[in-house]
Amino acid sequence: MATKPEMAKIYIMGKEHQVPKELTIMGALEYAGYKYIRGAGCRAGFCGACSTIYRKKGEYKLYSDLACQTLVQDGMRLVQLPFVPAVKAKYDLGKLDVSKNTVLEYYPEIARCVTCNTCNKTCPQDLEVMEFIQAALKGDIEKSARLSFDCIQCGLCAVRCPADIKHYHVGQLVRRLYGKYMSKKSKNLEKRLKEMAHGKYDSEIDRLTRASKEELRQIYKSRDIEAAK
């Protein structure tokens, strides 16, 4: 018989629950009977859908993290934040007149940054959020894109920012600008796109869409994969 797990007392939106200590916040919510209809994606720390805000026992500070990546602690008080209704600039990426002030045009509030560093302290990815906003402010789109590359768009930075900056949307804009106008063009990609346009892979796709579930399973099992090291 399995040993009984050690339990923790947590408060979900103020209501007390007893949950096993080894669970993540996401697991604990499900254990307590909640069902995710949104705010849960990859369950592996990559998608940024499961932002959670919590307070630890005896502390006054509010913390934020990804629910799928954070273990519960005894006395934790928490709530899920499935969405951040931050304003997002509209632009046609193909028609932007790119200058050093492009980001300022779409997100002028970045000039309000007071370098309080709250965004860096909030980021569950440990990114240098303040630095990529500052780089955007200086027109250094390449640096801004590089520093924001691992952003998972959870939106927690924007929730905590006293200057109301929408860091994660700014990061998306600088990466798009970099990708579209500044990064080196891949010749292989152009070649492949042409091949696709000329129908090189159509017959293979047709074969797959017509295949039965059993055939697909066979194809999947016999696919070429890199050997595990």
Binding site: C113, V114, C116, L137, K138, P162
Partner: protein, 287 residues
């Protein structure tokens, strides 16, 4: 001579010719401006609210970086940055309690010790010596009649002024060392209207007209200044005929040292005037 240098955002975006000419001109003097590895937007305007420490954090973070890079001083070129950094620094030096509050807030940083000094490039040039600068001149700017203009940020408030706030002379001295014929303008310390240029540009147009006409009436063919915002205002908001070119002091230095200058950011193109005076021809011949 190496000195840590804080460019500020404007020099990296809309006033790149100011930075480019400043770096060229100082190099010609043997002064190496070493850009800080990490620096933050200064906030552009010093917050006058006595309890608003939040807006002092950005300049203090930059001063901490100066301190940690081993500098006892930092030089700025932009007048807005100069004023904001210097006022924030002064506030910390004079109010240990405020410094303590900010250091406590910046718990992820080492403390600011309040020892860094904030310089403007003009002060550094004065220290280098105008006579020394004169020796480096290859193309004397003789016959070019220029009125210096200071605006506000180099002179006000008095506590952070780099010269006599009522009757400054540092730009005049620099210009004379380059061979420029200095035209005295009684409105040289008037405000250009500053950020009113964003949503009340008629104020800036009026101030520009006063300042530029006053210089023109006294025989000036151009104005020379240091501040990127004054430059934008005086350069863009001149509406009447016979517009005068507005130079950055660093551009005239670069020209006098025989270096090429990119005037593409200027709305009033100075090239015609410089050709007329034979200055560009002399530089072409040297190359």
């Amino acid at each position: 001579m190496n000195i840590l240098y804080y460019p500020g955002c404007t020099l990296k975006t809309t006033a790149t010719s100011l930075e480019e000419s400043a770096l060229k001109a100082t190099q010609a003097l043997g002064i190496e401006l070493v850009e800080l590895k990490d620096w933050y937007c200064c906030g552009a305007v010093f917050s006058l609210s006595s309890d608003d420490l939040m807006h002092q954090i950005a300049p203090i973070r930059t001063l901490i970086n100066v301190q940690e890079e081993g500098g006892d001083r930092v030089v700025t070129i932009c007048d807005m940055c100069y004023n904001t950094l210097k006022q924030a620094n002064l506030l910390m030096k004079e109010n240990p309690d405020k410094l303590k509050t900010i250091n406590a807030f910046l718990d992820e940083q080492v403390d600011y010790k309040g020892k860094v000094r904030v310089y403007h490039l003009l002060e550094l040039l004065k220290e280098f010596g105008f006579n020394e600068i004169k020796k480096k001149v290859k193309v004397k700017l003789n016959g070019l009649k220029v009125a210096p203009y200071y605006g506000c940020m180099l002179l006000r408030p008095r506590e952070v002024a780099l010269d006599d706030p009522e009757n400054p002379g540092i730009l005049e001295e620099l210009m004379k060392s380059l061979g420029v014929e200095v035209v005295e303008n009684p409105l040289k310390t008037e405000c250009c209207g500053s950020y009113h240029t964003v949503n009340r540009k008629e104020i800036v147009e009026k101030k520009t007209k006063q300042i530029v006409s006053s210089a023109r009436e006294r025989g000036a063919e151009a104005l020379v200044l240091s501040c990127p915002l004054c430059h934008f205002n005086l350069d863009t908001r001149q509406l009447e005929a016979g517009r005068l070119p507005i130079f950055y002091f660093t551009e005239l230095m670069a020209l006098a040292f025989g270096l090429e200058v990119d005037f593409s950011e200027h709305r009033v193109d100075p090239k015609h005037l410089l050709e007329e005076k034979g200055i560009l021809k002399k530089i072409r011949v040297m190359r």
